[in-house]
């Protein structure tokens, strides 16, 4: 039985596409967990969902224009939307959550309308499903996709590490940091941009609807147990990478959809951490 298992794994890992899926999957899981903590804390849990709908709309536009690589349309549109959303969060004319709802519902409707009016293939429902749930797109990655993903992940991780203390300070108390003469707006803008990059990356892995899960579950699990920002970040990165790895292996072996398998693993870990927190709280 175990021999058979190993042979099957060996067989799968002789295919480059499995390696691509693993590399891309782990990198995206790492990136999304890094920013997940601050997004959850700033009540922007839904920004992943909102931006993914924007990306969905942008994909429909890209499909309409007949672009072969829709990344060139999706990426700029999503980044601009992210910046707009995170900025409205600070000025009170439209509340952050209303702005997210407005942009995401609008983009979803326009995208679906465009797909219906100008169908690029016969199977519209199938296309929508694939775009939203990501189904197997991670297993059909091309080497270029992997390179783009690696470059963007490295940028996101580098920015996060170099600005780690600034991100903490700005997210913990923007008023204090502004008063201390630090350009908080500039850092907010930077965080908005790398958030958008992560979400566009993540769409390739789990698809639009499951991105929020990838951003919030590791963060929520880590926040159950750990008490300092640094530990929460490290823990959520570890949870996210381990869950993504386990999810990808399971989906390969059991033939389940990649995205939802990863999220189910994340949910399982969340419940384990909830139980763990019951015991650690009692001790403290």
């Amino acid at each position: 039985m175990s021999n058979e298992f190993i042979t099957k794994l060996q067989l799968y890992f002789s295919y480059p596409f499995v390696w691509y899926a693993l590399i891309v999957g782990l990198l995206i899981a790492l990136c999304s967990s890094l920013l997940g903590v601050t997004l959850v804390l700033k009540r922007f849990s839904y920004i992943g969902d909102g931006l993914s709908h924007v990306a969905f709309g942008a994909m429909a536009v890209a499909g309409l224009l007949g672009l072969t690589n829709n990344m060139y349309v999706v990426l700029p549109i999503t980044v601009i939307s992210a910046v707009l959303l995170l900025r409205t969060g600070q000025n009170a004319k439209i509340n952050g959550d209303a702005a997210i709802a407005m942009i995401s519902v609008g983009a979803l409707a326009v995208g679906y309308m465009l797909m219906n009016l100008f169908p690029s293939s016969a199977n519209i429902t199938g296309d929508v499903c694939t775009t939203l749930f990501g189904s197997t797109s991670i297993l059909t990655l091309k080497p270029e996709d992997v390179i783009i993903c690696v470059i963007m992940s490295v940028i996101v991780i580098a920015v996060f590490l170099l600005f780690y203390h600034k991100i903490f300070a700005v997210k913990f108390d923007e008023n204090f940091i502004k008063a201390a003469g630090v350009k908080a707006e500039a850092y907010n803008l930077l965080i908005a941009i790398i958030t958008a990059l992560i979400i566009v990356l993540a769409m390739n892995l789990v698809g639009s609807l499951l991105i929020s899960a990838l951003i919030i579950f590791p963060a929520l699990s880590a926040m159950r147990v750990f008490r300092s920002f640094k530990r929460v970040i490290i823990c959520s990165a570890v949870i996210s990478v381990v869950c993504a790895g386990a999810g990808i292996f399971t989906s390969i072996m059991a033939g389940t959809p990649v995205g939802s398998t990863i999220v189910v693993t994340d949910i399982a870990v969340f419940f384990i951490f909830c139980i763990v927190s019951l015991f650690t709280r009692r001790k403290a």
Partner: protein
């Protein structure tokens, strides 16, 4: 005693409309200035102006040439986000050193030492590894004062610092602030708490609806008409303690 700030007939506003006008006051080194005023009287606009985040619409605001943005350590009111933010006390105090970093990504030894000695000064060294959200209200304020002192050593601006604290913690915090003031730190405190202002402050700035009612020493304030009216009101309020706690929460 050097002059820190001189304001002459300034008008403060928000998005083009004036909120409060006719403010004239002085802050010298070592002062303990208490800014009194009802909600909506423009206190938060004045805080922004003092911090250099909002320029006066008219009037003169003179600061010493060597004073720049960030030279005032600020203790903001708590936000909902902070109440569930996972952060250790040390991380928060250290974040007060951030302006010193500029573009440098990590804290250096001097900054870590400053954070350590400030925690010691405020008696929170034992809490360094604790989680901020699990501390009592009084301990949390000490942490935030430590952070403000890491950012600026000479002036502290405290925005309603005792809000939400129990009476014992309020007294402890007032004593701590008074002690910092005695050690040479200039204190600017925005407050609702009339009696504490009379007990601790050296100067009072009282803002009424959109204009200044009084500026001067606490002793002069008590003799002034404004001071007499408000001290009578405050004493009346003290006799109904329930109402008082309610206004303390907002």
């Amino acid at each position: 005693m050097g002059n820190l700030l001189h304001c002459q007939d300034i008008v403060l506003g928000w998005e083009g409309s004036a909120v409060v006008s006719g403010l004239s006051f002085n802050i010298s080194e070592g002062d303990y200035l208490c800014i009194l005023g009802e909600n909506g009287s423009g206190k938060s606009t004045l805080i922004k102006a003092l911090l250099g985040l909002n320029k006066p619409m008219s009037g003169m605001m003179i600061k010493p040439a060597d004073m720049k943005a960030g030279d005032i350590g600020y203790l903001p009111q708590q936000t909902a986000v902070q109440r569930d933010f996972p952060a250790s006390v040390r991380e928060i105090v250290l974040s007060g050193c951030l302006p010193k970093c500029g573009l440098r990504p990590f804290y250096n030894k001097a900054e870590k030492e400053l954070a350590r000695s400030t925690m010691e000064r405020l008696g929170i060294t034992g809490l360094a590894k604790r989680c901020y959200r699990e501390l009592s209200g009084g301990q949390q304020q000490r942490v935030l004062i430590a952070r403000a002192l890491c950012a600026a050593q000479k002036v502290l601006l405290l925005d309603e610092p005792v809000t939400g604290l129990d009476p014992k913690a309020q007294i402890d915090l007032y004593d701590l602030i008074a002690e910092l003031n005695r050690s040479g730190i200039t204190i600017i405190m925005v407050s609702h708490d009339f009696n504490a202002a009379m007990r601790y402050a050296s100067h009072i700035l009282h803002i009424g609806a959109h204009h200044q009612l009084f500026f001067g020493t606490t002793a002069d304030y008590l003799k002034s008409e404004t001071g007499r009216i408000f001290s009578a009101q405050a004493n009346a309020r003290d006799e109904k303690p329930e109402e008082r706690t309610e206004s303390g929460i907002e």
